[in-house]
Symmetry: none
Amino acid sequence: MGRGKIEIKRIENNTNRQVTFCKRRNGLLKKAYELSVLCEAEIALIVFSTRGRVYEYSNNNIKATIDRYKKATAETSNACTTQELNAQHEMILAETENLQKREILLEQENAFLRSKIAENERLQELSMMPAAGGQEYSAIQQYLARNMLQLNMMEGQGVSSYDPLPPPHHDKKSLELQ
Amino acid sequence: MGRGKIEIKRIENNTNRQVTFCKRRNGLLKKAYELSVLCEAEIALIVFSTRGRVYEYSNNNIKATIDRYKKATAETSNACTTQELNAQHEMILAETENLQKREILLEQENAFLRSKIAENERLQELSMMPAAGGQEYSAIQQYLARNMLQLNMMEGQGVSSYDPLPPPHHDKKSLELQ
DNA sequence: GAGGCTATCTATAACCT
DNA sequence: TAGGTTATAGATAGCCT
C-alpha cells in the first residue's frame, strides 16, 4: 500500500526503516483502537522500537489485560508456558539432570565402597578368630588378594578414583533467571 | 475500507460484529507481524474477544516482552520480574540446593569410605607379610578392632548407614514451570 | 529527522454461496 | 455459520520540503 509493493523483510536503509516504523506503528495502534471499539475487544499492544522506546495501546488498563492474559494462559495446560520460558528452564533442567546423574554415580560408588568394607569386616572377624592360622590363614590372604584386585578393577573403570566425575556446575550465577 | 464507510463505534448487529472481529483481528495480527519484520520491532499483542477467547501475537517470547515492558515502565529493577516468577523459581532453587547438599554429603561419605578401604588395604599388606605372627599379629588385630569401632561410630552419626540421606525429590513434575 | 502529498497497494464491508 | 468475491475506504512507499 504505497507507490510500490514491498517485500516483508527488514528494511535495510536506516532512514526508511525509521520512517516506516513511525507510519506503520501509528497505523497499527489505530487498527487496534478500531478493533477494540467496533467489536468490544480487550486489547493490549506493546511495541518496542529498535532503540528501545516503548509504544503501547490498550483500551483498558494494560496491566489488568496482561494479568488476564497470564491467567488465561496459565489455565491452558502448563506445557505451553514451559515452552515460552524455555531457554532458561532448559538450562535449569540440564543442571538438575546433571546433579541427579552425579548423585546416582556417587550412590553407586558408595554402595560399592560399602560392600568392600562389609567384606573387609568379615575378613577382620575371621582374622581375629583364635583358630586363624595354617590353611585358614592362607584362605584369608586369598580373599584379601581378590578383594584388592576387584577394587583395582573398579578404579580402572573410573568408578572409584578420587576424581570419578566431571566437576558439577555449582556456579550459582548460572541459575539466576533473566 | 469496504463497500461503505463505517463509523468507529460498537457494531450492534451480533453477527456483523463477530465477522468484523474475525477479519480485523487477522488484519491486526498481520500488521503487527509486518511491523516487527520490516522494522525489527519487538511486539506483544494480546486480544480478548467479547466471549473471552484470547488471541496473541509476538515476534519474540511474549512474556519476555511483557517483562521488558514492565521494566521499562515501572523501572523497578528486576526484583519485580523475579518476584512474579518467584514461587516456581524458589522451588527450583530449593531443589537444586537440595541436590547440591546431598551431593556434598555423598562425597563426604565417599571420602570416608575410601579412607576406610585404604586403611584396610594397608592392614592387608601387613597381614600378608610373612613375618606376621606373635606380637606383630596382635598389633594388626588392634588396628582392625579400632577400625571397626570408628566405623561403628560413624554409622551412629548417620553418615555411613545404608540410608544416610533423606530421599531426594527426583519427581520431574515438581520441576515443571507454571 | 519531521511533516505533507499522492499514486498505489491493502484491508475489508457488504454481499454472495 | 463459514468461506469466497468485489467495490471501495484506508494505509502507506516513495518523494518532496
